[in-house]
Symmetry: C2
Subunit: 237 residues, 2 copies
């Protein structure tokens, strides 16, 4: 439970321009507003909880998690960010979370003063934040009301595109409702995201394996045999 490792700060090269990420269906991206694209290594800390907030960040490539620590070392991962998500926005002047990469990542960084002045940036910001807010609401349900099995099932379903939502398409091929996915998080990170212990996460995964719902090729390579079955276990059906 005690998690007191101090991540190494990844100081990457400054690229001329990031990709062309979009936040939801917003055409405007951070890269259109100046700032600089910065590359971070895996498990690099972009900033620490409590650091003065100087910039706004947009995830352009890769994966980043935000987490908070309690003084005794308990950790809660509060968000796992997707491409296009915005972070570093702390009302007040201190970051409320630590931001750490899960993979190599490219981040577009814009000075906060610059953000203040741009109507377009404010608009993009509002769009992205309300999007992220929905994710946080759903995560609160997971943390507050779901069983360990439901949490892990929900977590895995989130990694399957176009499935599990209200607008779930159902299996593309009714005879082969399978999907291969790669986990970019360790068991510890998953546990801290789902509000469980590493042992419980491991046990639930083994249980899903035993039931034939998934196949674990390597610890981070998981084959979902029946996406629909897994979806039934999320507590949302």
């Amino acid at each position: 439970m005690a998690y007191l490792e101090v991540g190494t700060r990844g100081q990457g090269a400054v690229a001329a321009r990031g990709g062309a990420p979009v936040c939801a269906s917003v055409a405007t991206s951070f890269s259109d507003f100046g700032g600089k694209a910065v590359h971070y290594d895996t498990h690099a800390v972009i900033y620490y909880e409590g650091d003065p907030a100087k910039r706004l960040y947009e995830l352009v490539r890769g994966s980043v998690m935000l987490y908070k620590l309690l003084p005794d070392g308990r950790r809660q991962v509060v968000e796992v960010l997707q491409t296009g998500d915005i972070f570093g926005l702390a009302n007040g002047d201190e970051n409320d979370c630590t931001a750490e990469t899960l993979t190599d990542a490219t981040v577009q960084e814009v000075d906060l003063r610059h953000v203040e002045q741009s109507n377009d940036l404010q608009r993009t910001l509002a769009r992205c934040l309300s999007n992220q807010m929905r994710g946080l609401h759903e995560h609160a349900v997971l943390l507050g009301r779901k069983s360990a099995l439901e949490r892990v099932a929900s977590f895995l379903m989130h990694l399957v595109p176009d499935r599990g939502g209200i607008d779930c398409a159902g299996p593309a091929d009714p005879d082969n409702d399978s999907y291969d996915l790669r986990l970019f998080m360790t068991r510890q990170e998953i546990a801290d995201y789902l509000g469980l212990t590493i042992e419980t996460v491991s046990r639930v995964i083994s249980d899903l394996k035993r039931r034939g719902v998934i196949r674990v090729d390597k610890a981070d390579r998981i084959h979902l045999n029946r996406v629909c079955s897994l979806c039934q276990m999320t507590g949302m059906h």
Copy 2:
């Protein structure tokens, strides 16, 4: 656990203009941008999860909670809104939560199309959302990592102004570190907010009473004898 009561829709009178609420330190308020102020009774549903999102709401007076239900009736209260908070913003076209008043409340309602067009509204929006986001992050820590006692202690501390934060002032009078507060939520609502059962909330409150940390005058009137002692129990020290 099953919570399938359907709230009565409160249809209040339309006032000419709301108060002068501010979101954090933002000067602009919704009432400056047209729309209408609507009054709702206690326990009135403003909108349901899944309803088409047509307007943006700003809480001007009173208290509102947002919650989500699982199909089997499990409920999670995801936010308890304060004056100045904004809600009803669903990316996509459906509300992701149900909004229900905890008290009589006045709400400033603005058409979403109107919001799209106003730079000032977008700016206010971004400000408020990032503020609410911080609250959601802290709540995720509570739900994912805190014990029942820590949850209840954290909940009560949130109701004491200027205490418990990083910038906690400490007791104004060192000889009298007490505070009187009124709960606007039933035990069930508190339980659903804290991810606990009604019995556990009740037991923790009784335990705090036994320990002399609080005094319960009526179920919804609580006197904190020693704010600092309570704060020590939040898990954040």
